[in-house]
């Protein structure tokens, strides 16, 4: 079990009973994670997180959020640091970054390991 999962389990966040639809979301993201497809599904994840606060469509994070977060955090840092057009990356993955930011603070990820976000950056309006 990873350090972040251990840390998550110590937080007083109850595991809700999942509906059929939420169980399907859980399977979807576990499948993406276990088959090594997180990077390829980042666009889908952003789209999903546009309409849902967390990956299983729950009101609070689940272990699946934390497991996927472990894979997404380094990817997000790489995306932000490896482009000259930061604004474009922020705009494209704004919902993923919002989710990463929430989880890195919830899980008290050390500041040196965190994704550093410029919260003052003005982004173009999202067209849905």
């Amino acid at each position: 079990m990873s350090d972040l999962i251990t840390k998550f389990k110590t937080l007083s966040i109850s595991s809700p009973a999942l509906s059929r639809e939420q169980n399907a979301f859980n399977t979807q993201w576990q499948s993406v994670l276990k088959s090594g497809q997180v990077e390829q599904q980042l666009d889908q994840m952003n789209l999903f997180l546009r309409d849902n606060t967390f990956l299983v469509s729950t009101l609070q994070p689940t272990e699946t959020d934390v497991e996927v977060f472990e894979a997404v955090l380094p990817l997000s840092k790489q995306l932000v640091s490896s482009t000259k057009d930061v604004k474009d990356v922020y705009a494209k993955y704004r919902h993923v970054f919002r989710w990463v930011d929430y989880l890195q603070n919830l899980l008290a990820v050390p500041s040196g390991d965190q994704l550093t976000l410029n919260h003052d950056l003005e982004l173009p309006r999202e067209i849905i």
Binding site: E21, N23, A24, F25, T27, Q28, V32, K34, S35, G36
Partner: protein
């Protein structure tokens, strides 16, 4: 409301990925619970399941999740079998060149440890493992199970009908 499901028709992925996704979608149609009515949407070119749940759109893009949802069976997802099926078998499908010797060994391991029978009633996990192994090495699976259950046979026919043909690494 009738749910809509579509098959993978894009050629951007390997034919292994296309075929395994489509076979899972076809199995979802065959094994869906009685309360779930599913229609095939031929206009979409990628795997997607769309339904309306309490007035809101419910969408899935992952074939494993579609199969589990259709069967309303989410058991075994913390198991070693699910982990093996995803990280050892399914991870091959995203590669353009599958190392066949390695794949054959993995399918042998699947048959020895997990896929020991194809008797009904099937679970979603058993079907996912079956599809992943069958996609990688159909000869080995057919040698072990010369006769498939009727629903699996129907799904294989349906998946073949909806999967684009490719001259590269396509064995079905």
């Amino acid at each position: 409301m009738v749910a809509q499901v579509s098959f993978e028709k894009e050629n951007g992925f390997s034919s292994y990925f296309n075929y395994s996704s489509n076979l899972k979608v076809a199995l979802a149609i065959e094994y869906a619970t009685k309360d779930l009515k599913i229609q095939i949407n031929d206009d979409l070119k990628t795997v997607q399941f769309v339904d309306q749940i309490q007035g809101q759109e419910f969408t899935l893009f992952n074939a494993n999740a579609i199969l589990c949802y259709a069967m309303n069976d989410f058991t075994g997802q913390d198991s070693e079998e699910f982990h093996f099926s995803e990280s050892s078998l399914e991870s091959f499908f995203r590669q353009q060149e599958v190392p066949q010797e390695h794949a054959t060994v993995c399918v042998q391991k699947t048959l020895d440890n997990y896929l020991t029978s194809l008797e009904e009633p099937m679970t979603s996990l058993k079907l996912i493992t079956f599809v992943n192994a069958f996609t990688l090495d159909p000869e080995q699976i057919i040698a072990r199970f010369p006769t498939f259950p009727e629903k699996i046979k129907n799904a294989i026919v349906l998946a073949a009908k909806h999967t684009p043909r490719s001259s590269k690494n396509f064995k079905h």
